[in-house]
């Protein structure tokens, strides 16, 4: 079936060439060239051998893998009951909760780190509550600055992804399979283990793989919660590059990191090919009303789970917002007032207002680049031309490289002629655009794919040229998706810290970097006010996301 209409019109050939050339040139300069510089440095035998033989680095690599494995297991343990609850039960607020599982995709990790310190820390909400409730002289829980803290924060961040992916798959399983098993005499457990679990395993595998890669490449959470003793490869690269200025070994570490994450992705893709079975059928099982008689044992377990997970999820975010209003003598707005001040703040290296304006400027530029680039990726991915697969791989490659690595690559690539004249704001925006455009493409893709290509064919048949058909038919029908992509990209850029902290220079701190600087200096009130700002941006992005979801539901 045709995707594009009149693909070979002579008049559009030049337009097409331009359309293809600009993004390709951009990616070449903004991603592949800097990456090439880093790979050249990193693949040099000296630094690579140094990294692969130094016990310090080997320990770093081992710890990164270990914490990723444990984080993935914990995310699955916390996420799977939630997936079951969302897929099988009906209760008030189910749709809202399901929607909220999208929050981790937009919530900046630094706010999670701050929230964990404020909620689980030695002087945090939980410890203070326990001391008060049980009259304890000292804080009973020591969760932070340890593997536990890192893993818990990662689970907070990633369990919703498991809930979302597995829950959706669970809902889609045709109940006929289980009914057939029941008719053949299989009891509840045999059906669960012999039918449902195997049918769900591709979804479980893919969400686990995703969580593993995310936590393997995690940076801000480990930076904040790992303390002095615990670091991942990402933190190691950051330290090498920003503190020790050891660029060759930083590059070598990036090579090792990327090799591991690519190797893992490859194994995952191969496994997925073998596991995948078609489970989506014509029918969907009806959900069980939660507040109706029966299944009390299971329901009380699920209710307990819901409360625990509610505390884990709402606690840290609530703590950030509460802390932003807390002064020495009761509630105050002074932290927010300080945000709009032009006074120099020594922890930021500039004024708070300038920090916010820098963030907005960078996010604006990054969005203006990322959304058209994302749209270009979608056009290639859904188009019809011979080497589409290769092109798609080339275009999506930034997804396989960590944020810190992208930041470092651009730092190296743009520190020499002819690009060394590009200012820090532009290089940071460029890094953001590179990191964000594949995700903007993912937001746009279902909207574009959902568009019936016959609609454009119909417009063409009625006498509209390609441009008129695009503006009058295609664009209005995907406009909500484009809006979402814009808001989503903007929010991601506002919250991006990893590449930013590598590229920033004095005076170009952004909001998340400011949160990090302030919390490092134990300035929790101002840090929370800054972080609340990010949470607000996240909330707006999330609502935009939801509106599109509804819109697609109507059509």
């Amino acid at each position: 079936m045709a995707r594009r209409v009149g693909a070979g019109d002579d008049a559009t050939v030049i337009g097409r060439a331009v359309l293809y050339l600009i993004p390709i040139a951009f990616l070449g300069i903004g991603f592949y060239y800097p990456l090439g510089v880093v790979l050249r440095d990193g693949l040099a035998p000296g630094p690579l051998r140094a990294v692969l033989t130094d016990p310090c680095f080997l320990h770093l690599i081992a710890f990164t893998l270990k914490q990723a494995a444990i984080s993935t297991a914990l995310s699955l343990a916390l996420g799977l009951p939630g997936a079951y609850l969302l897929a099988r039960y009906e209760f008030p607020g189910r749709r809202a909760i399901r929607a909220l599982t999208a929050v981790p995709f937009v919530l900046p990790a630094i706010t999670v780190g701050l929230g964990f310190i404020l909620f689980f820390g030695g002087n945090g909400v939980l410890n203070r509550f326990l001391m008060w409730a049980f009259h304890l002289p000292s804080p009973p829980l020591h969760l932070l600055y340890s593997l536990t803290g890192i893993v818990l924060a990662h689970a907070f961040y990633n369990a919703p992804i498991v809930m979302r992916t597995v829950g959706a798959a669970w809902e889609g399983i045709d109940p006929s399979f289980a009914e057939a098993a029941a008719a053949l005499g299989a009891g509840r457990w045999r059906r669960a283990l012999g039918i449902t679990l195997p049918l769900l395993s591709p979804a479980i595998m893919s969400s686990a793989a995703l969580v593993f890669v995310f936590t393997f490449l995690s940076f801000p959470i480990v930076l904040v919660l790992g303390g002095a003793r615990y670091a991942t490869i990402e933190v190691g690269i950051y330290t090498l590059v920003r503190t020790l200025l050891d660029f060759p070994r930083g590059a070598a570490l990036i090579v090792v990191e990327t090799a591991i994450s690519l190797g893992f992705s490859y194994l995952y893709l191969r496994a997925e090919g073998q596991f995948a079975v078609p489970v989506q059928g014509e029918r969907k099982a009806p959900r069980i009303p939660f507040f109706r008689r029966g299944r009390w044992g299971e329901k009380s377990l699920l209710a307990g789970y819901a409360v625990a997970i509610g505390v884990l999820f709402l606690g840290p975010i609530g703590a950030v917002i509460a802390d932003s209003f807390r002064g020495e003598a009761g509630p105050t707005l002074s932290h927010y007032r300080a945000l709009v001040s032009l006074g120099y703040n020594p922890f930021l290296g500039t004024s708070p207002l300038h920090t916010i304006l820098t963030s907005l400027e960078i996010a604006g530029i990054a969005t203006a680049i990322a959304v058209p680039l994302g749209a270009f990726v979608v056009r290639i991915a859904t188009g019809r031309f011979p080497s589409r697969r290769i092109a798609e791989t080339v275009l999506m490659a930034p997804l396989a490289v960590s944020s810190v690595a992208v930041g470092f690559a651009i730092l190296r690539g743009f520190s020499r002629p002819p690009f060394n004249g590009v200012g820090p704001v532009l290089t940071i925006a460029l890094a953001h655009a590179i990191l964000i455009y594949p995700l903007a493409g993912r937001v746009l893709r279902p909207v574009v794919e959902g568009l019936d290509p016959n609609l454009i064919a119909a417009a063409r048949g009625l006498g509209a040229g390609p441009i008129r058909a695009f503006f009058e038919v295609e664009l209005p029908l995907i406009s909500r998706g484009v809006m979402t992509a814009i808001v989503f990209s903007f929010a991601l850029s506002m919250g991006e810290m990893s590449a930013t902290i590598i590229l920033m220079r004095p005076g170009t701190a952004t909001i998340p970097v400011a949160v990090y600087s302030l919390l490092s200096a134990r300035q929790f009130g101002p840090a929370s006010a800054m972080a609340s700002l990010l949470i607000g941006v996240t909330a707006v992005a999330f609502l935009a996301f939801e509106r599109v979801g509804e819109g697609l539901g109507e059509g």
Binding site: V5, A7, A457, A458, A459, R460, G461, G463, G555
Partner: protein
Amino acid sequence: MERLEVIDLEKSFGRTRALAGVSFSVEQGELLALLGPSGCGKTTCLRLIAGFERPDKGDIRIDGTSILGLPPERRGIGFVFQHYALFPHMTVAKNIAYGIRFRSGIDVRARVGELLSLVHLEGRADRRPAELSGGERQRVALARALAPSPRLLLLDEPLSALDAALQEELRRELRRIQRAFSLPTVYVTHDQAEALAIADRIGVMNAGRIEQIGRPDEVYRHPRTRFTAAFLGRGSRFLGRISSGESVIVNGHPLRIAPPRAEIPTGIEVEVIVREEDVRLGPGENSLPVEVVESEYHGDARVIIASTPIGIVRVRIPEGEGAVQPGARLTFHLPPDRIFVFPAGNELS
């Protein structure tokens, strides 16, 4: 005078050959139905004419002038899609006006009103497509296609998404409007009843080629290929061997066949096709003793599956010839001019 000519069209998608040289022409006011099973290339052929795809080879001409170099928007076509492809973000009136909005010298409102009354949708101008019934959407799609006064009309399974009763009603309506506009029309369908009822001529398509093209009664009564004979109507098929110019042996049983269709050399293996309505009750030429296996009552007729010396035969007899019970022994006969004989292919498809 508009005349559409399609000359030796070829089109492949990757390794799949969708069209392997298709030629036909459609005169002004004529409705040609392209009929065939799914995947036979009929929709591809339509999309090539519209300009949504480019052919690998061949030419498409209107009034002798090639339109291959023109993009779809300049070909002057009216296209009705299988699922209508109405613009969901526009009202009915806006959908219909889409093709004429920027034309000079057209009173858009008046034209839209005219078309709405033509398809009997006067009160629906401000509705959105989602608020219309299936039949109404179909009418809007037709009105939209006709609004710009196209030079030819292309319909891709326009009735397949509707239920049977509505199909028949809209089929007549479509035919009425098509006649009124007197456009060369290509109508793609997989439904033989629809094609037989609506078309001036039918092109039977199979595996990217046109098997036979002609008036509906001509292709039905005088199929020239094995595929056409088997695809149209319902009946029974047997393997046999020509024994002389005028008879064929099926399962050891000789059947006389009419000379005009018997120009196949003696001794050749053939496929013998007999339509269900061509088998007659009672003795006559090519009499067969039969035993009834199944007897189904269809209201206006009775369909009998019977075991005979030449194999299992499917027979349709008008209602009123009496109840026939399984196990009954009767006599049928096969009129020689109603027996189709074709050289057997490699497979019995």
